[in-house]
Symmetry: C2
Subunit: 512 residues, 2 copies
């Protein structure tokens, strides 16, 4: 008589590492992660293969979830709930509304938005009618929503699953279905005020989750483009060189330079000039230095970007978070649609880190400004400036799960306050009457679905499930018009008059 | 400066009527509903067509969500949130855990579970790898989860979207993507205790939502099968005749009889015998009467079903809800997988009902016992008895939306407690410092993203968005080290010392 046998204990250790927001190159991210191999191994354990014998003929059937997806057990959803609550509280604290969009969009809506990542989009089968695809992120559906409803001002969050058909040969545990938690501000405003708020939100969430020290890297697409221009990159190669720069967090400069020169045909001198810039990171000092840089300061885009970056740092200082922000010229971000400031948060020293995991690999949030995306959907091309951030919670979940494992903290998967139990046989009717009263008073109550459960089994059920109280009905108690209230932790028992029981349970469980 | 321009007012009136749980016949449900035509008309308004001019060539592009789907605006998500909270509170009150499953399953997992409704399943395109389908309900994934993880005991809820490709010619506003809120109890228990709890849950939720009077019809597949047997229906036709009986809530007996005799080849005398039984509905009295019925009482299945129905009514009486329950021999439910008790809740007099809507058409919840489904997935066919209920919240949403419209109640779409405003120009830095303090103290605060917003615009923003308080910084206030706290509703203003501000805001907004 125990509800809680959802998965074998080992299954709780499944690390799900997929931090998917805006990968510039789907091919790079996973090869370097030793833990992905671990993850896949565990997924196999969690998805035992089995043969299903049907009545009509013995078909072979594998009992599993689709490749790259997983179920969430009650314990996993309980941990997930805590992470979501922290994130949602923060979004609400900043006055965000909520919208929701369908899980699939017209295929055309997604086309031309993701560059080479488009090949990762899941298409639906043509069963007659429209051609549909599963959403790849929440940003493009948001832009489509704004254009469709002619909204020019909104601050919203959206938490939902997105879908990416990662190249099967490369996935190695990368999830194909995963959550994104997006917060975006759309509207024409004075520079950098909403941008600074997005960074404040990342700071609040990562602090609130207590998953270790972090750093938020910022850069600006205009600074990157200005830098490419003054280094001698042809305009037509800005985006592809940008993609290569984005690999610097995983690859060495030598490898990156080789790609620029060898694969992408850049002159070695141009690459070397880029190499000097992308080593730079710092704060206001670096911004001032670059504003004086003889080459960069001649470029209009770079000047605009640096001016806004300076303003951003002033606002971040007022918010008291500038010490966690690093202006980093190597940050490029993958997606094509960014037009201004971009950012990415990394964990510096993840708690319970695997030994083989280097410091600072963990990207847990990212985003930026995309002023052109809504205009791509508007019939007249009207632009709605937007800036937003996406929290990459799959990685955060896995860290939280590991923390729970390491601390041996017991996670409750229900909120039940009291078990209605019987001291003797033949008391089912009394239990049903009592539990009904409790439910009707808003008390979270359970009972065992047995006519005559043993008292010991009922008490054991409370121990197993962390239920703090037991309301015991017995023959003597019925005569005395009382219920015996037992505190599971202390084994203290007290007779409570039936008419006072609800009040007494509420008093003893008033904490959330 | 107004965030709240999500949709034209008319868009909130979109009624979304799709109550989809377990339709026995997808072809029948919508023809009779006049409101479905209204719904489709409004969807068209909500989805204005527009041409998108792209940079590369002028492609024609329709700016819309896929057929049968819709976005949820902030106002709609706010109403949805209230409905979800009522439902989730109830599920938690009954000690349910939460699980989550992927939005798609292996195609094979869904095959052979839904009878003729299988044609409504959305398949994904074969892009190499596994053949996948979007989930059609939450019950089959739940059964797959139990079998895969060898779980024999669990009480869980799952709220998620499901997908049904309704025949386009028949849809008329029926949504193809919609939420289900499922609560299920799996495990081998004493008879009818969990079944009774499921009905208690339906009763609590429908009472809690305050959407008008309702009735819960119950029947049992064993009673139906026994009835078919004693009426002379061949075993092979039980399920198809059951489907026809299921149409009785929408069609006349004459039509139903014609289908039985004409299409399904039943003898007219057999149909007439069924016709006598299916008129019957009542409570304990009817059960007693049928237990004495000379024909039915000879049938083992019917006897078992009637015995359990009697027990169920005893438990429902102890729960104090028997007056809302009707044992109704015409209730058949569509899905093949039910094996015991089945039920369906209808609204008797929906609030703000369309005049043309007859009394009692609104099915808002349904479910039943399915003891064989998990065994279909288990390699050795091991059975896990299950009973569950699904709340059909699309219809409930639409009723709640209409209630809001009718009451002219203003629905807030944010929870912002205070706007940080400036009385004069050049106070952006002071506003940023103050709002940062408020956020860090957990206060829900907004500011306008302007360097120098006008005070009137800031106050108007509060009026428009229902923000109760304004914290005004001004030159004099800065000198005096105070903040002017304004109550929007009363226009009362009071100077609060800066160090007391947070406490004062919390005091004034302590209600949720």
């Amino acid at each position: 008589m125990n509800w809680l046998r959802p998965l074998a204990a080992g299954a709780y250790r499944v690390p799900f590492w997929a931090q998917h927001r805006a990968p510039s190159c789907p091919l790079r991210a996973f090869a370097a992660h030793p833990e992905n191999q671990v993850a896949e191994g565990v997924v196999k354990v969690q998805q035992p293969k089995a043969q299903l014998g049907t009545d009509e003929g013995k078909k072979n059937f594998i009992l599993k979830t689709p490749k790259g997806t997983r179920d969430y057990s009650p314990k996993q959803t309980a941990i997930r709930e805590k992470v979501f609550n922290t994130i949602i509280s923060c979004f609400k604290r900043h006055g965000a509304e909520v919208i929701d969009t369908p899980v699939f969009e017209l295929k055309e809506t997604l086309m031309g938005k993701y560059g080479e990542d488009s090949k990762l989009i899941y298409d639906l089968k043509d069963q007659g009618g429209e051609l549909l695809s599963l959403r790849y992120d929440l940003t493009v559906p948001f832009a489509r929503y704004l254009a469709m409803n002619k909204i020019t001002n909104i601050k919203r969050y959206h938490i939902a699953k997105v879908y990416r058909r990662d190249n099967p040969a490369m996935t190695r545990g990368r999830y194909r279905e995963f959550y994104q938690c997006d917060f975006d501000i759309a509207g024409q405003f004075d520079p950098m005020i909403p941008d600074a708020e997005c960074l404040k939100i990342v700071h609040e969430i990562l602090s609130g989750l207590q998953i270790g020290d972090f750093l938020i890297k910022v850069n600006d697409r205009r600074i990157l483009d200005g830098m490419f221009a003054v280094c001698g990159v042809p305009d037509s190669k800005f985006r592809t060189i940008c993609s290569t720069v984005d690999k610097l967090d995983k690859a060495t400069w030598e490898d990156v330079k080789n790609e620029m020169v060898g694969e992408k045909g850049l002159l070695p001198e141009a690459a070397d000039r880029i190499g000097e810039y992308v080593q730079l990171h710092g704060g206001l000092g670096l911004i001032e230095q670059l504003l004086q840089d003889p080459k960069l300061s001649q470029n209009k885009l770079a000047r605009e970007g640096l001016g806004d970056m300076k303003l951003l740092f002033e606002y971040l200082t007022l918010f008291g978070i500038a010490d966690k922000i690093s202006f980093d010229l190597s940050l490029a971000r993958g997606l094509d649609y960014y037009t201004g400031v971009i950012y990415e948060a990394i964990l510096l020293q993840p708690q319970n880190a695997h030994k083989e995991e280097p410091v600072g690999v963990g990207s847990v949030a990212g985003g930026g400004r995309y002023d052109g995306l809504v205009g791509m959907f508007d019939p007249k091309g009207r632009k709605v400036p937007c800036v937003g951030v996406s929290i990459g919670i799959e990685r955060i979940f896995s860290i939280m799960e590991q923390k729970v494992e390491a601390s041996e903290e017991k996670i409750r998967t229900t909120e039940t306050q009291v078990l209605v139990a019987a001291a003797q046989k033949k008391l089912l009717e009394e239990r049903l009457k009592l539990i009904s009263e409790l439910w009707d008073s808003g008390i979270k109550a359970e009972m065992l679905y047995k006519k005559n459960p043993k008292l010991l089994n009922q008490l054991q059920y409370c121990e197993d499930n962390g239920i703090p109280l037991v309301a015991i009905v017995g023959e003597q108690e019925l005569k005395d018009e009382v219920v015996k209230l037992r505190v599971v932790a202390t084994r203290e028992e007290v007779d409570v008059r039936r008419e006072n029981l609800i009040e007494e349970i509420k008093r003893r469980t008033c904490h959330p």
